[in-house]
Subunit: 479 residues, 2 copies
C-alpha cells in the first residue's frame, strides 16, 4: 500500500465521539471546517452510553421514587408503590437511544462525517483507521484526540458486570440489589449509594481513604454524612478495601478495619476505580507527543499538544474527568483550529452530585481558600430557614459562601439541598464575573423561592440575613 | 387625653407586618434601631397567610401530584393515587403556621416590638394605635408604611369565599372544585388554573382582556396557551366577563363573546380582581402625603414619601404587587433610615409563575426591547434539545434570550420549563452585572443539566448552539 496515493484529505479529524469529541466536531463544522469524527463504538461515548446519562437516569428515578414515597406528607394517598424492573430499564434504554440518535442527527445536520472505526497516528498529519474489513488513511490539517478514559481494572478482582461492578456497569443492574457494597467516595459512589438505597437496597460504603472525606468543602462533607446516616446508608470508617471474592449468590468483601481483617457478604459490589486515559493504542509515542506522568496527554490552555496541529481534550488530558471539561475543551479546540482566540479556563468548574438532596459547588472551598492565603469571610444558611424549602418539604441542606474579607470578592459557593444544581449557575457566573458580595445582595430574588437562600447566604457574610436569628440568639449552624 | 404627655417614644415605627414590613423591621434592628412593628392581623401579612405561601403550597402539591401521576413513565407502578382533602389542607395550615411562628421568633430575636393593632397618623411624627380596648400614641423618628393592598370587590358580585372566590380565598378551597371558572389572566390565575386542573378540576378561563395575552414575552404567552391546551384547560377567547350569579350548588357566569351574551354554569368562580393599596384609613390626607392617582403613595428610589421621616414600601406604593419588590423596598427603607446609601432599582425584577412547567423571566421582552429602540438579537432554545430535560421526562418549554446586536449586552431572559425558577437567578445576575453574551457562553455548566440550556440559548444568539441543528436543517422553533 502506497500511503501517499491512498490518503483521503480532510480538514479536521476527531478521534472519539464522546461529549468532547462531538461538541468539537459540531463547533468546527459551524465554523466552516470539513470534519471527520472517528468513533469505534457508539456516538455520545462513555458519557451518554455508559456513564453520566445512565447514572443520571437512575438518580432521577430515585428522586421521583422519593417524591412518591413522601406523598403522604402533602395529603396524597398512594395505595401501593412498586417498581417494574423491566419498565425501569426500558426507560433508561429509551433515553440513551433517543439521545444517541439526537447526536447522530446533529452530526448529520452539521455535515460531520462519521466513521465507525479505530484510529491511530501514522505521522504528524495522517491517521490510519481500521473499520471492519477496511483500512483507510486520512490526511488532516488538524486532529483532536478525544479518546476519553476507562476505569482501571484491579488485579485479582473479577469485574463481571453482574455481581462485581465498575463505573460502566453500576447503572445497568437489571434489578435493585439486595445489599450493595460500594468501595469509593467519589461522586458516582455517592450518587449510586443514594439512588440504590432510595430504590430499596441495603447500602454499605467502604470509602477509599483513611479519613472519610468526599473532597468537598468540609461543611458539605459533614452534611453528606449526616444525611447518609439519616437514610441508613452505612459508612464503614477507617477501613481499607482488600479484596473481593465471588460467592454463589453474591460477593465476599475483604477489608481491613481497626487493625483486623474483616469480611462482609453482600449481593453486589461496586468498586469505583480511578479512570485511566485511553492514550495507549494511538501511536503517540511514535510522534513524540509530550505526555504527563499518568498517561494523560499534555496540552496548553488552547488544547494544543506538543505537536503542531494535534489537539487533545477531555479525559485523555489532565484534570477532572468531567464531561463539562471535555465539552469546554472540545469547543475551544475547534475554535482555536478555526482561528478564534479561545482558551480553556477551568477555575470555575462546577461540580454536581445527584444525591437526594443534590450537591453543587463551584470555586474555592474554605480550606482551599485559607491554604491559598486568603483571609476569608464565610456564611452558612440552612435551608430550614427558607420558606420555599419548607413548603415543598425539602429543608435538608444549606448554602455556604466564602468571600475575601478585604475585597468582598466571592471565592466559592457550596450548596447541598433542593435546587442546588440549577442555582449553581448563579455561583459560576458570580465567580466568573469576579462579583463582590454586594453584586449578590443587591439582586432581586423571587419570593418565595430557593433562590432567596442564595441571596441570604450572601447577606449573611455580613451577618445580615433576615431569616437567621442574630448570633447571640441562635446556636450557630454546627461547623 | 393630652397627646404630648401620653406619647411613647420609638425610633422606627413600621405599619404592616407583611414581607416588606418584617424585612424592614429586622433590617433596621440589625442596624441598631429600636423598632416597633404594628400589625392588625397576623405577622407575615397577606403574602404568608393568604397569598404567596398558600398558593405556592397548592402549586407544589399539584406539582407533586403530577410527578406521581407520571410515575409509570419511569417504570413505577402506583396502584391507586387519591387525595385526602383533610390532610392536604392540614399540610397548608401547618406550613403557614410554622412560617408565621418563624417570623414571630425572628422578630423577637431581633428585639422588634410587635403591637397588634390598627395605626393611623396623627402628625408627621406621631401615630395613634388602637389595639383592643387600648389606644396608644407613639412618637417616632421614622415611620414606614407597609400596609399592602386588598383585592378589589366588584359591585354586584358576592365574593362569599365559598363559591365565588378572590385572590385571598382561592388557595383555601376545602375540596377540589368540580368545575372552576377563572376570570383573569395574571400570574395567580395561571397558577390556580394549572394547580386545580392537575388536581382534578375542570378549568375554564375567561381572560380579562380582549386579546388574550398574559403579559410575558409573546413567545412565552404562546407556549402557555399550547401547554394549557395540551392539559385541556379551556380558554374562552374574545370574551368579556359580565356578571356572576349564585346558583344553589354553584355559580352562573355571564359573559359576552362573539357579539352574544352567554352563560356558563360552574361549581366555583375565581375572579382575580386587581389589588388596591391599603392607604385610605391611615390619615395620610391630613399630612398631605403626596399620592399617585390610583391611591398609591408616591415614593422616591429611597422609599421616602413627600413627608420627611415617613417612608412607604410594597403594595402601598406604585409598581408590581410582588413580595420581592416589597422585600427590597423594606430593606432599602430600613437602610436609608440607618444612614446607608441604599436605593431601590427594580429594572431586573424577576417574575415567576408556578405553573407546570414553571415560568420565570427577567429583563426586557423582545417586544419591549424593540419598543425601546434596541436593535436586538434573539435566540430560543427548546428544552427538547436538552439531555437532562429528556432524561427527567420534562421537555416542555424553552429558554429565550434577547441581546443588543451592537453591544452583545443581554437585555432579557425568559424561561418556561423545568428549573426555570432556580435558573432565573443566573439571568438576574447577568442583567444586573450588564453581562454580554460571552459572559454567559464562556461559563462552564454541569453536564447533563438544565443549566446547559441557558448556556446554549446564549450560544444560539450567534447560532452556535451545539444541540440545535443549523437553520437550513431544522424547522425553526415556531415564533
Amino acid at each position: 500500500m502506497v500511503v501517499g496515493e491512498m490518503a483521503h484529505e480532510r480538514d479536521v479529524i476527531i478521534i472519539g465521539g464522546g461529549p468532547g469529541g462531538y461538541h468539537a466536531a459540531i463547533r468546527a463544522s459551524q465554523l466552516g471546517k470539513k470534519v471527520t469524527l472517528i468513533e469505534k463504538e457508539d456516538l455520545g461515548g462513555v458519557c451518554l452510553n455508559k456513564g453520566c446519562i445512565p447514572s443520571k437516569v437512575l438518580t432521577q428515578q430515585a428522586s421521583r421514587w422519593k417524591q412518591i414515597e413522601r406523598a403522604a406528607d402533602m395529603g396524597f394517598i398512594v395505595e401501593s408503590l412498586s417498581l417494574n424492573n423491566e419498565k425501569k430499564n426500558a426507560y433508561r434504554a429509551r433515553i440513551i437511544s433517543e439521545l444517541r440518535k439526537g447526536v447522530e442527527n446533529l452530526c448529520k445536520a452539521n455535515k460531520v462525517e462519521i466513521i465507525k472505526g479505530t484510529a491511530f497516528f501514522l505521522s504528524e498529519n495522517r491517521v490510519g483507521v481500521e473499520h471492519g474489513e477496511r483500512y483507510d488513511i486520512f490526511q488532516f490539517q488538524q486532529a483532536i484526540i478525544a479518546t476519553g478514559s476507562t476505569p482501571e481494572r484491579w488485579q485479582g478482582i473479577s469485574f463481571d458486570g453482574n455481581r462485581i461492578l465498575d463505573k460502566w456497569s453500576i447503572s445497568f443492574l437489571p434489578t435493585i440489589p439486595e445489599h450493595l457494597v460500594i468501595h469509593g467516595s467519589d461522586v458516582i459512589s455517592l450518587e449510586m449509594a443514594m439512588a440504590y438505597k432510595t430504590l430499596g437496597a441495603e447500602v454499605t460504603i467502604i470509602p477509599n481513604r483513611e479519613s472519610l472525606e468526599f473532597g468537598f468543602d468540609s461543611s458539605i462533607d459533614r452534611e453528606i454524612k449526616r444525611i447518609f446516616k439519616k437514610e441508613k446508608i452505612t459508612i464503614i470508617k477507617e477501613s481499607y478495601f482488600l479484596n473481593a471474592l465471588p460467592l454463589e449468590n453474591g460477593v465476599q468483601v475483604i477489608y481491613f478495619s481497626n487493625g483486623l481483617e474483616k469480611s462482609l457478604d453482600c449481593s453486589h459490589l461496586f468498586i469505583s476505580t480511578p479512570n485511566k486515559p485511553n492514550t495507549e493504542a494511538l501511536g503517540l509515542e511514535r510522534l513524540g507527543v509530550k505526555m504527563e506522568n499518568d498517561g494523560c496527554i499534555w496540552v496548553d490552555s488552547k488544547c494544543r499538544t506538543s505537536i503542531t496541529g494535534i489537539f487533545a481534550i477531555g479525559d485523555a488530558t489532565e484534570g477532572h474527568g468531567l464531561a463539562v471539561k471535555a465539552i469546554k475543551q472540545g469547543k475551544v479546540a475547534a475554535e482555536v483550529i478555526c482561528g478564534l482566540p479561545s482558551e480553556v479556563d477551568l477555575r470555575f468548574l462546577p461540580q454536581v452530585v445527584h444525591t437526594i438532596p443534590p450537591i453543587a459547588t463551584v470555586g474555592l472551598t474554605e480550606e482551599a481558600a485559607l491554604q491559598e492565603g486568603y483571609v476569608v469571610r464565610t456564611s452558612q444558611l440552612p435551608l430550614s430557614s427558607n420558606g420555599f424549602a419548607a413548603l415543598s418539604g425539602k429543608k435538608d441542606g444549606f448554602m455556604k459562601i466564602i468571600s475575601e474579607q478585604s475585597t468582598d470578592v466571592i471565592l466559592g459557593i457550596h450548596f447541598i439541598g433542593e435546587g442546588a444544581v440549577e442555582l449553581i449557575s448563579s455561583g459560576t457566573l458570580l465567580l466568573e464575573m469576579a462579583a463582590r458580595e454586594e453584586d449578590l445582595t443587591f439582586s432581586l430574588q423571587p419570593h418565595p423561592s430557593l433562590n432567596e437562600a442564595l441571596l441570604e447566604a450572601g447577606e449573611q457574610l455580613k451577618e445580615m440575613a433576615i431569616h437567621l436569628a442574630p448570633k447571640n440568639h441562635h446556636e450557630k449552624v454546627k461547623q
